[in-house]
Symmetry: C2
Subunit: 239 residues, 2 copies
Amino acid sequence: MFRETKARSLLKTLSWRFWATLTTIGLVLLFVGETAIALSIGGLEVILKMIIYFVHERVWDKIKVGRHEYKPFVLWITGLSGSGKTSLAKSVVERLKKDGLKVEHLDGETVRDLFPETGFTKKDIDQHIERVGYLASKLEKHGIFVVASFLSPYKESRDFVKKICNNFIEVYINTPLEICEKRDPNGLYKKARAGVLDNFPGISAVYEKPDNPDIIIDTANTGIEENTNKIIEKVSKYL
Amino acid sequence: MFRETKARSLLKTLSWRFWATLTTIGLVLLFVGETAIALSIGGLEVILKMIIYFVHERVWDKIKVGRHEYKPFVLWITGLSGSGKTSLAKSVVERLKKDGLKVEHLDGETVRDLFPETGFTKKDIDQHIERVGYLASKLEKHGIFVVASFLSPYKESRDFVKKICNNFIEVYINTPLEICEKRDPNGLYKKARAGVLDNFPGISAVYEKPDNPDIIIDTANTGIEENTNKIIEKVSKYL
């Protein structure tokens, strides 16, 4: 997948201009003035420049300079409930879209809203995450940048997703449990503590931290702008 | 999503050529021969034609003629086991790829191989189909043509997929059960008859025919080439 950089278009424009005008100058030098001769120049120029334009296009098709290749990735944001995954994902998505890239944001809550029957046992979650990962890998394959924000507490399914994607970038938000629980944006921790919610990662179920995340984000001490910059910088080689 | 047609590029080339050469003729008519004058023409031409080239590009950006819009779709092929879904899907995919389109083939068997835990109860199948449909809808949204070949025996999940896709085209392969069972490419009918396979559509479970399929295909009496042509003709308004 390629896109033309501004530098390439500029070089191409200048190069084409050079050869086309050189031809006109050569012709005017060859023929001396008068209306009839000027019209002859015009007639010849039509044919010659059309040929030159075509050849020029074909030659530039072979020249690699300024041809920019970008590599779609799956940026997978994992972390406890309330750690700030969705907000960070939205901010990264906006930044990537500004670069003119095709981006898809897959968010845990949005997807579960569409599939309300999805359960919360390890098996349910792993199957859910693996299928979302399959979707992400297909989008990536077709040149779309994917930002996925899912609690995704289990290594097994995260590793499955990593395996089926080309460029899987694991982002771990390490906001401590105490801070997440204090935030409790949807009152889930309260419900989990009261025993209304089963299998709640951090409270009644384990959250398996990534062993080797590509990027570690700390939302407790740094703001969303700074964290977005950190991620964009880390993935710049793909853009 | 747009792509440039050959006719549009041709028109653009001719149009640009016309204005550029008219300028040269005008200049040669204005100035009479001699080297110094020819060089002046060259110098002026460089500046004038660059401006004209730029304005021309901007003007053509506003002209709609020959600008071709294509509409990605999800072509959903449903039918009994052994009805010929996968072969037909592969043939349609090849044809679409030849047109230079981005195409993804989602096939029941391939997806189940990746998610072997997927069950065969109505609930399992519906959840499976709905998630595959979600994947298809996301690909479609990003400009990718999707051909999906799934037994997908239940209306409920097919209708769910229809609802979340922009252009959902339902293809029903109506090959009769007796013929499918005679073909039995993977020996599944034999296993189903022997009671080894439960919930097998057509034998031990129902296959709900589409009420109002967009395209009906008969693989019992017509060949794959003919059926592919029929589908391509039916979807031509999207291409």
